[in-house]
Amino acid sequence: MNPTVSWLTLLSFGDKGWGDELLFGACLSLGIAISAYLVGLALGLIGAVAKISKSRVGRATAGAYTTIIRSVPDILIIFLIYYSATDALRWVVGFTGLTSEFQLNGFVAATLSLGVVQGGYSTEVLRGAIVAIPKGQIEAAHALGLTRRQTFFLVTLPQMIPLALPGLGNLWLVVLKESSLVSLIGFTELVLAGKMAAGATHDYFVFYCAIAFVFLVMSGMSAMLFQGLEAATANPGRRK
């Protein structure tokens, strides 16, 4: 630790400070979190539909998926998916004989691995929201002659959103914090950028405090945003 350099200098922008690196890292963290959230929602929607479907194979697969995601540490799953996805893609690319040295793009790998973890959590939230829609709505849609696909996209999905919103807000806060885990597979987002800065200057306390503060601000703002969304979408078009 160098006492002559104040923490304000360390966190400033430009050549002497690490502020610009940290800001770039924070943007990447947000990017990873948003894309993993979307991947997770897509996987979660598929998982939720599979969980309440009549197909036994679908239910068993979705059940195994959520059970494993809920009981194995996220970082372990991220490692496993990262390595297996890289190996699988390398094998495919090697098979086509295009190139022998293949490296998976870091952003894609991080999104994919975090998204799979997030999908497991999303499945439960979305399943709960689908189940909470009264059966009469589906029956009414059938009576009107809508196909099953139309029923899902025009009746079930729009009514699900306000029901799922508190859960989705929580999921966003979870994925925002879990985006820190992709630093462990070598993706330079906020935490790894801060770790490098801390290692270079030996001012560990300042940099980790700064990272924690940035995360606190990001999650605080997201919480307020979701509260506003919940207030805006509360009981749309439904009689109280």
Partner: protein, 228 residues
């Protein structure tokens, strides 16, 4: 068994012991701390409520990984700079990562569980408290004998889930050099260049532990339900 399998099994067995000790210790301390923090957050006195709220906000708003880094590298560095601590009897303990991991994981669990307890206590009908008052019970007595037991029943499923998250959180202790199950898997991975065997074996270990914890909480919930 081949030499590799033997080595892997030995390392993972050593690691899983640390995981279990870390998990049990943090679960006990974290869950016990959660109740006073929840009560402080429900207090009508501002100077009690605000610090407890700030504590919960800080631990719930930042990633566990950052908390571990901040405590081990940041606070650890400051402690090493203070001569009275650097040369005290406590130093061998404070030098290792285990005590920081224990500290952070306990407080993290306490912050999340305090939120669960707070919600559970607030969702008990006001009539329960009023009934206690009309029986002439003191405020402390109402809390201990009327509100907390009912809140416990409401909170137990969520607390079970939170403890599973704690178990998963112990895997992150390997990032600050605590040698637990995940750390053991990483060691074998680094030494033998085999990726899948150690990771799958560690995943299986965590899965079994999680099943054990879930079953334990399920049993507890059923026993508690039988009494009413």
């Amino acid at each position: 068994m081949t030499e590799f399998e033997d080595y892997l099994a030995n390392q993972l067995l050593a690691g899983i012991q640390t995981t279990i000790v870390l998990f049990v210790g943090c679960a006990v301390v974290g869950n016990l701390l959660a109740i006073p923090i929840a009560l402080a957050r429900l207090s009508s006195r501002r100077w009690v409520r605000y610090p407890a709220d700030a504590f919960a906000l800080a631990f719930r708003g930042t990633p566990l990984l950052v908390q571990l880094y901040l405590c081990y590298y940041g606070v650890g560095q400051i402690l090493a700079g203070i001569p009275t601590i650097r040369y005290s009897m406590m130093w061998p303990l404070l030098r290792g990562a285990s005590c920081y991991a224990f500290f952070v994981l306990s407080l993290n669990t306490a912050a999340y569980c305090s939120e669960i307890w707070r919600g559970a206590i607030r969702s008990i009908p006001e009539g329960q408290r009023e009934a206690g008052q009309s029986l002439g019970l003191s405020k402390t007595r109402i809390m201990i004998s009327v509100l907390l037991p009912q809140a416990f029943r409401l909170a137990l499923p969520a607390i079970g889930g939170q403890n599973i998250l704690l178990l998963k959180g112990t895997a992150l202790a390997s990032t600050i050099t605590v040698f637990e199950l995940m750390g053991a898997a990483n060691l074998v991975r680094a030494q033998t260049f085999r990726v899948y065997e150690p990771l799958f074996a560690a995943a299986l270990g965590y899965f079994l532990l999680a099943v054990l914890v879930t079953t334990g909480f399920g049993y507890f919930e059923r026993r508690l339900a039988r009494r009413y």
